[in-house]
Subunit: 206 residues, 2 copies
């Protein structure tokens, strides 16, 4: 077995952490895991801030003793880099297109609804957050509609880019396959649901 | 002069569009511009949705007659791809780290405040948006603090990654250099302000 080079600083509650674990598994890259609990404030300590990340968020991919890479999708990109997925240069840009969409639109609606409703529970939310739920639900639905249109009408393969799985599928899968936690039923978006099933059927899926 | 291959579908109001124009200028890549007015609803028409982007947002980088690339940072990556900036594989991941940070945290706070306060005007905002301003201001300040810490304490060069300008600097510059539109004075973050000045001093800056 190859020597472990990478350590994932994670909270298993977060699918932003899971997407890095899944990328490593699919590429057969050994990955150490170091668990932190965000609900217990583990990432808010001066130690975490000084050693791991000033930004006090996880996931962070530790690459060596003193190199730490925040941002889940950059971590996936770094893991996949040397091995990569089969893409032309334009397909790599399209892959990043969906990864930026994921962080700019999908994660800030779907993942945030899931965190509020499933992890924290609606009864514990501030009035400000409760007031913001309807807008987040609209935004999440727009994301699923957009993904459905792309997969149903602009993809021959059922993958987001090209003919096989890429980081676009993995990064979008992370919070999409648990959309029920955010109050959505993927039956409404059959091509999106089918793409999730395809990810689950890939060898080494975990 | 090289033949123009790329068309930028843009609204000059948006710095997400400007960052693509700046990337092309710095790399001496000819770029056609096709203007759309978001305030006039140009991107909400069935024509735009069917031809340019189902997502009905700009910027979109048109690569050929039928290939359209949404997401500003993916468009910058695609333009820079063949020429690229000088980066090791890990520096490329670090560059993407800041580009994902920009879309997941900086753009959703700084750009959105700028759009509300400077483009639309506070007097025309819905009660929901007005209620959300304080949280966006806190989030924007956290972004500038994080950037300041990185540039002041973890960068030898004053650039975000490595020893020269990369897409990380360009993508963060877009909304940072006009932070005053969102109500912030960069004097509070001197290393961030200095990085903006460095971008402005690069040959072919526009």
């Amino acid at each position: 077995m190859a020597q472990t080079r990478f350590t994932l600083h994670r909270d298993p509650l977060l699918a932003n952490c899971y997407k890095i674990k899944l990328t490593a598994a699919l590429l057969h890259i050994p990955l150490e895991k170091h668990n932190h609990s965000i609900l217990s404030g583990d990432t808010q300590t001066p130690e975490f801030q000084n050693k791991v990340s000033f930004w006090r968020r996880i996931p962070v991919l530790q690459v060596d003793k003193s190199s730490f890479l925040p941002e889940s999708n950059a971590a996936c990109f770094n893991l996949a880099g040397p091995i990569s997925f089969q893409t032309t240069p334009f397909q790599k840009a399209e892959m990043l297109r969906w990864m930026f969409f994921e962080q700019n639109h999908h994660e800030v609606s779907v993942a945030s609804l899931r965190f509020w409703l499933h992890i924290l529970g609606e009864e514990s939310l501030s009035a400000d957050r409760i007031a913001h739920i309807p807008a987040k639900k609209v935004a999440a639905r727009q994301c699923f509609d957009y993904m459905e249109d792309h997969l149903a009408n602009h993809s021959q393969s059922g993958w987001f880019v090209g003919d096989s799985i890429t980081l676009a599928d993995i990064c979008l899968f992370a919070y999409t396959h648990i959309a029920a936690h955010a109050g959505f039923d993927l039956k409404e978006w059959p091509a999106v649901k089918a793409c999730c099933e395809k990810v689950k059927s890939v060898d080494a899926f975990c």
